[in-house]
C-alpha cells in the first residue's frame, strides 16, 4: 500500500513537472498573472539576426591646393582643387578585399561576438555580415565599416607624425587618482618609433614668446579623421607609451562605460586599419528561415521515432517499461525547464544537444531495464543492480560529458550552445535517474 502511494506521488510529481515545463509557473503580479519561468532564448539561426552590407566606398574627396600647389584645408583664393576617389583604383585588389575580411573577423572575434557569418565578394569587395542580435550588435556593426586608422598629427601643419603602422599594441588601462578612477587608452609604439615619440614629446610643448605670451604647439590624435585627443606635452615620454585620457570618475557605471569605450577603440586599432574605405549599404534585422514549415518533416519524424521507441519499451519490458516511459517523459520536461531557468541559448546545435541528451537518457533506461529484467523481485537485489548499472552507464557518459564541458568554454555560440546542452543534459540524467527513476523502479516491485 505504502509503495503504491509513493508510486502515485512520484507519477503526480512527474505530471506536475510536465505541466510546469509546458505551461510555466504563474504568480500574481498586480492585476495580471506573470510566468516566472524565463522564456526560451534562441540563437541567430532560430531567431534571425542583423544583416550588415558594406561596399567599397566610391565616394570622392576634394583636395584643395593653394596658389603654390600646397595642400590646404579649405578652398583658397587663387588656389585650385581636385576631386579624387577616396579609394585609390590601384588598391581595389582581391588581396585588399581578403585582408579587409580578415581584419573584420579579427575585430569581431576580439569583441567576443558570439555568432556571426561573413561573406566576401572577391570581385567587388562587398562584405556581408550576419550578426546575432544582442547588446554588442551596434558596436559590432561599427567595427565592420570603420577603417580604424589612427594618426598623430601636427595641429598646425597637419603633418602626420605617427600612425597605426608605428603601433605595437593598444590597450585600455585605469589608475586611481585624487579625483577618482581615470581611464586611459595606452598607445604603445614599436621599437623604431619610441625615439620619434620622445622627440615629439620634447617638441610639442608650451613655450613663452618674447612678449611673454604662452605659445602651445599641439598634436592631435585622430581616429578615422575624428579627433580623439589634443595636447601639448609637459614631460618627456621615453617609454614609448602615449596615454590618452578617457575620463575620470568616482561613479562605477561611468568608469565602466569609459573603460568599455577605451577597450572597444583598442580592439578597433589593434587589428590594424582596413586597407580600403567602406560604407554601409544596409543594416537591418532579418528573421530566420527556420520556420516550422521548413523543419516540420524532421520534427514529425523525430516525434514518431520517440513515440515508437517508447511503445517498444512498454511492449518489451511490460510494467517496468511503462514506468521507464513515464520517467523518460519526466526527464524531457526537467531538461526543458533547466534550459529556461539557466537561460541557455538554443541554436540548431543546441537542439542537437537536447536530442542527444534525450537519446542518452533512453540508452541509459534500456541499459538499466535490461539489467533489472531478469532480477528476482527483491528490493535489495534491485537496489544493488540498479546502482551498479547506473554507475556503469554514467562512466559510459563521461566521454560525452568531456566534449560538453570543453565546448562550454567556447565563445562561438553554436558550439557553446551544444556544449551547455550536453553538460546539463548529462548532469540531469545523473541526478534525475538516481532520484526519480530509481524511486519509480524500486516502488514498482510487487512483494
Amino acid at each position: 500500500m505504502e509503495r503504491k502511494l509513493k508510486l502515485i506521488l512520484i507519477i503526480l510529481l512527474i505530471i506536475l513537472i510536465s505541466i510546469i515545463s509546458f505551461g510555466g509557473i504563474f504568480v500574481q503580479n498586480g492585476k495580471y498573472m506573470k510566468n516566472i519561468l524565463p522564456e526560451y532564448k534562441f540563437g541567430m539561426d532560430l531567431a534571425g539576426g542583423r544583416i550588415i552590407i558594406t561596399d567599397v566606398s566610391k565616394e570622392k574627396e576634394t583636395i584643395y591646393y593653394d596658389k603654390d600647389g600646397n595642400i590646404v584645408d579649405t578652398e583658397q583664393k587663387d588656389g585650385t582643387s581636385k576631386e579624387v576617389p577616396i579609394n585609390n583604383e590601384e588598391n581595389l585588389t582581391k588581396e585588399n578585399y581578403l585582408k579587409t575580411k580578415e581584419i573584420i573577423e579579427e575585430r569581431l572575434n576580439e569583441l567576443k561576438i558570439s555568432e556571426y557569418m561573413i561573406r566576401l565578394n572577391e570581385n567587388d569587395g562587398r562584405i556581408i555580415v550576419q550578426l546575432s542580435e544582442d547588446n554588442l550588435t551596434d558596436i559590432a556593426s561599427q567595427f565592420i565599416y570603420s577603417t580604424g586608422k589612427l594618426t598623430i598629427e601636427d595641429k598646425e601643419t597637419k603633418e602626420v607624425l605617427l600612425d597605426s603602422s608605428n603601433l605595437k599594441k593598444v590597450q585600455a588601462s585605469y589608475a586611481s587618482t585624487t579625483s577618482g578612477t581615470a581611464v586611459y587608452l595606452d598607445l604603445e609604439f614599436n621599437k623604431d618609433s619610441v625615439e620619434k615619440l620622445k622627440e615629439i614629446s620634447n617638441t610639442y610643448i608650451s613655450t613663452t614668446d618674447e612678449e611673454g605670451n604662452t605659445v602651445d604647439k599641439n598634436i592631435v590624435v585622430k581616429l578615422d579623421d575624428s579627433t580623439l585627443y589634443e595636447t601639448t606635452f609637459n614631460t618627456e615620454i621615453n617609454n614609448g607609451i602615449l596615454k590618452i585620457p578617457f575620463g575620470t570618475s568616482t561613479d562605477v557605471n561611468t568608469i565602466n562605460a569609459n573603460l568599455n569605450r577605451a577597450t572597444y577603440i583598442a580592439i578597433l586599432i589593434n587589428n590594424g586599419p582596413l586597407p580600403l574605405h567602406y560604407e554601409t549599404q544596409q543594416n537591418r534585422f532579418e528573421k530566420t528561415i527556420m520556420s516550422f514549415e521548413n523543419i516540420k518533416i524532421p520534427v514529425i519524424t523525430l516525434s514518431v521515432i520517440i513515440l515508437l521507441s517508447l511503445i517498444v519499451l512498454i511492449i518489451k519490458y511490460k510494467k517496468l517499461g511503462l514506468f521507464a516511459t513515464i520517467s523518460f517523459i519526466g526527464y524531457i520536461d526537467v531538461l526543458l525547464i533547466a534550459v529556461r531557468i539557466f537561460n541557455l541559448t538554443i541554436t540548431l546545435e543546441g537542439i542537437s544537444g537536447i536530442l542527444i541528451s534525450i537519446i542518452l537518457n533512453y540508452i541509459l533506461l534500456v541499459y538499466i531495464l535490461q539489467t533489472l529484467k531478469n532480477m528476482p523481485k527483491d528490493e535489495n537485489e534491485y537496489k544493488i543492480a540498479y546502482n551498479k548499472s547506473m554507475l556503469s552507464m554514467l562512466l559510459v557518459l563521461v566521454p560525452s560529458l568531456i566534449i560538453g564541458i570543453v565546448l562550454c568554454f567556447v565563445t562561438w555560440l553554436p558550439a557553446f550552445s551544444f556544449g551547455t546542452m550536453i553538460f546539463w543534459g548529462i548532469f540531469i540524467i545523473a541526478l534525475y535517474n538516481i532520484s526519480i527513476t530509481r524511486l519509480l523502479f524500486l516502488n514498482s516491485i510487487n512483494k
Binding site: 539561426d45 534571425g48 552590407i53 557569418m117 561573413i118 561573406r119 566576401l120 565578394n121 572577391e122 562587398r126 556581408i128 537591418r284 534585422f285 532579418e286 528573421k287 530566420t288 528561415i289 527556420m290 520556420s291 514549415e293 524532421p298 540548431l348 546545435e349 537542439i351 542537437s352 544537444g353 536530442l355 542527444i356 537519446i359 542518452l360 540508452i363 541499459y367 556503469s392 562512466l395 559510459v396 557518459l397 563521461v398 566521454p399 560525452s400 568531456i402 566534449i403 570543453v406 565546448l407 568554454f409 567556447v410 562561438w412 553554436p414 558550439a415 551544444f418 556544449g419 550536453i422
Partner: protein
C-alpha cells in the same frame, strides 16, 4: 559479411574523397552564391500568399523567404544566383505584376532591390569547432585509456580514433556522393553522430570489461 560491409564503407569514403577533391561539396542557397530580392510592400502580408506567388514565378526552383524587420510589410526572397540579368529582370517583372494583383499595389520593378550575395566559405562553418573538439578528443583518449586499461590502452585509443574519423568521413562522403546540399543541419548532425558513437563504443567496452 563484416569484411563486405567494411569494403563497402571504405569504397564510399574513397569515392567521397575523390568527389570532394574534384567537384567539391554542394552548398545550400544560404551558403552558396545567391541573389536576394528585397520587396517592401508597405502592406501587411501573409506568408502563405507570398510563398504561393513566389512559387508561381520561380516554379520548381528552391527559394527562401525571410521577413525583414518586425512590421511584416517587407520580405526578402533568396534564390541561387544562376540567371542572367535579363532573365532575372523578366522574373522580377512577373513577380511585381502578381504582387500588384494580389495586394492592389502599384509596385514597380525598380522598387525591388536586387542584391547579389557572395558565397560563404564552408570551412568557416567548422573552423570554430576544430580546436575544442581536438582538445576534447585528447582528454577523451586519456580517459578511455585509463578506464579500459585492462582491454589494452593503445588498442582502445586506436579504436576510438579510427571509429570517430571513419564515421565523420563516412557522413561527409555520403553527403558528397548524394550531392546533398550543405546546410545548417550538417554540423549538428555530425555532432550528434559523434556523441552517439562514443556512447556506443563505451557500452561495448563496458560489456567487454564485465566479461573480462
Amino acid at each position: 559479411m563484416k569484411k563486405v560491409i567494411l569494403a563497402v564503407l571504405i569504397c564510399i569514403i574513397l569515392a567521397g574523397i575523390v568527389i570532394i577533391a574534384t567537384i567539391g561539396l554542394k552548398a545550400d542557397i544560404i551558403y552558396s552564391k545567391n541573389v536576394q530580392l528585397n520587396v517592401y510592400l508597405n502592406k501587411t502580408f501573409e506568408d502563405t500568399d507570398i510563398k504561393q506567388i513566389v512559387q508561381q514565378v520561380f516554379q520548381n526552383e528552391r527559394f527562401i523567404i525571410k521577413d525583414v524587420e518586425i512590421f511584416k510589410d517587407e520580405f526578402t526572397i533568396i534564390l541561387k544566383d544562376n540567371r542572367t540579368e535579363e532573365e532575372l529582370n523578366t522574373k522580377i517583372k512577373e513577380l511585381t505584376q502578381k504582387l500588384n494583383e494580389k495586394y492592389g499595389l502599384e509596385l514597380k520593378e525598380e522598387n525591388i532591390e536586387i542584391m547579389h550575395n557572395p558565397k560563404v566559405k564552408l570551412s568557416s562553418i567548422i573552423l570554430p569547432y576544430i580546436i575544442p573538439i581536438a582538445i576534447s578528443m585528447i582528454i577523451l583518449f586519456v580517459y578511455v585509456g585509463i578506464r579500459y586499461k585492462k582491454l589494452g590502452t593503445v588498442k582502445i585509443i586506436f579504436t576510438y580514433l579510427i571509429s570517430i574519423i571513419a564515421l565523420e568521413m563516412l557522413l561527409i562522403s555520403i553527403i558528397a556522393i548524394t550531392r546533398y546540399q550543405i546546410n545548417q543541419l550538417i554540423v549538428p548532425l555530425a555532432l550528434l553522430l559523434l556523441i552517439v558513437e562514443i556512447t556506443i563504443l563505451g557500452l561495448i567496452n563496458e560489456k567487454k570489461l564485465v566479461n573480462n
